[in-house]
Amino acid sequence: MSTETPEQVKQMEICLQLERQNFHLNAHFHAPMKGVTALFGPSGSGKTTLLRCIAGLEKQTRGHLKIGADYWQDDSLCLPPHRRPVGYVFQKSNLFQHLTVLQNLRYGQKRTAKTQRKIYLNETIALLELENILKCHPDQLSGGQQQRVAIARALLTTPQLLLMDEPLASLDQASKLDIIPYLERLHQELSIPVIYVSHSPDEVTRLADHLVLMDQGSVTAEGEINHILTRNDLPLAHLEEACAVISGKVVKHDSHYHLTYLSIPGGTVAVSYRGFPISDTVRVRILARDVSLALSPGENSSITNVLAVTVISIQTMADPAKSLITLQLGSEQILASITRRSVHKLAISVGTALYAHIKSIALMH
């Protein structure tokens, strides 16, 4: 028996290959066994295919796959899909047409040992607002309703690994905002790792701890989320939604203004109140477009969060009017996107010390 370091047990090792007529999947990466690993890549880059290989749905898959301490696939072994404790939310909902919504939900739950069930029917139904449609058949549901049923159905098996293929794509903003915190809670409280495919940078940065970028069947970059988000040689930093995700510690609550103060590397910031205990570690997202730069800390402005930063690099963006500035903030890096005119006007160059005025900081978890 091989002795495994706890480090290894806390990882999933994915090294899978699949040959298709016009497509070659070759995915090789490690991801932590907690939190959300987001797969990000253009249409047709193989994200769905990779999830299918992990779930065991592609018989031709080669390679090996180790989830935590368990081998799911290697040279000699290949668990069939029903023995892999995954919950799979498909890109197309794939609901059972011959069953009602409730029967769909119960399908996987019944097949999970009672002792292993940690996600409960009523709670899930309430959260995903399925009360009124429990007796409907899938062909009587709207697109978003179908997607919510599919999410609930996958969750009710209390999976040890959740595979989600654009689960929120056809949901309205309000539903998304309900479901995302629930998913966050799930992978925190039940420590169910999630592999999450999404085209929405917003969803990804909200949810993900680890990012895997794919292109044409291969992994082009992967790593801790802020590292990948702020690397200006990667496409994410050049999106309109470019952002940084950094950790902070809760230091104070202000119940009057409903604010929570966080200490982050490089200063203290205020965010909308969330009931985390003092000195909890949390993560905040800072969108590049929310960061403006100034030579002075400024006063008399509605901007609450002002932090001292140093310029690390300046890059032009896809939009030639804009520059992407990578800033050192304490031990972390954040991004700012400002006009080139402002870069000139403020004479910003590498090494310049500036004040970042951050219009809005989103607290995540």
């Binding site: 047409q97 999970t112 996958a154």
Partner: protein, 230 residues
């Protein structure tokens, strides 16, 4: 006329219903797994061949098929000899023999629609079932079969109706023995042959009306909106 009705021997009717019911059950029990197996990935040509063989009994004229079955099952035939060796008794001229013959003859009618049903089924739902912990056999019963319901209904209808109507094979292998192998189709045939037209008309009409009702009900099932609610 009334007297003629009263005199009609109804035993063949029950025999036919019994035969068709049992045959249909056995056919479904065999055709469903076979269709499923044919539907799975695997050696295409082996499967093509087996599918073709299962359809072959269709091609032979029933009484010729009956003749060959007789040769097979009779005391000189291979199956007959086997039966003799193990002292099982002959199948020819028995109800069991009829079932075997009807099975062979009606099998293709059930196989084809069921095979189609599996083929047109979307793969996605089976995959979803797999990720929901359903083993292959489990998802076969809980997903594939319910989704194939229209095909199963069609297959069963065709097999049942065809067994009721079948005649050439049965006459040959069954020997027209009252109470044992004289089924309805043969009884009607006998009446026609003996120019007892009134009896033939009555039995035929009764059979048609009964069958019409059964088919009508089945058809309504079949077409009901939301084809999935049994």
């Amino acid at each position: 006329m009334l007297q003629t009705i009263a005199e009609i021997d109804l035993q063949p009717v029950w025999l036919s219903l019994k035969l068709a019911t049992f045959t249909t059950i056995f056919i479904l029990a065999a055709a469903i797994p076979l269709a499923w197996w044919l539907h799975q990935e695997g050696n295409r040509s082996v499967k093509g061949a087996i599918g073709a063989i299962a359809t072959l009994p269709l091609i032979l004229p029933p009484s010729v098929l009956g003749f060959y079955l007789l040769l097979l099952l009779g005391p000189n035939g291979p199956i007959g000899q086997l039966n003799e060796r193990f002292d099982l008794g002959s199948l020819a001229f028995t109800f069991e023999g009829l079932m075997l013959a009807s099975f062979i003859y009606s099998f293709p009618f059930a196989l084809q629609p069921i095979q189609n049903a599996f083929q047109t089924m979307s793969k996605g739902q089976m995959e979803a079932a797999a990720t929901l912990r359903a083993s292959p056999i489990d998802r076969f019963f809980t997903v594939a079969l319910p989704l194939a319901r229209p095909g199963l209904l069609s297959g069963a209808t065709l097999a049942f109706a065809h067994t009721i109507g079948e005649f050439g094979v049965i006459l040959m292998i069954g020997g027209n023995i009252p109470g044992e192998t004289r089924v309805l189709s043969i009884a009607i045939y006998d009446h026609v042959e003996s120019m007892e037209y009134t009896q033939a008309h009555i039995l035929s009409a009764g059979m048609l009306i009964f069958s019409f009702l059964v088919l009508f009900i089945l058809n309504s099932f079949h077409q009901r909106r939301g084809k999935y609610y049994l």
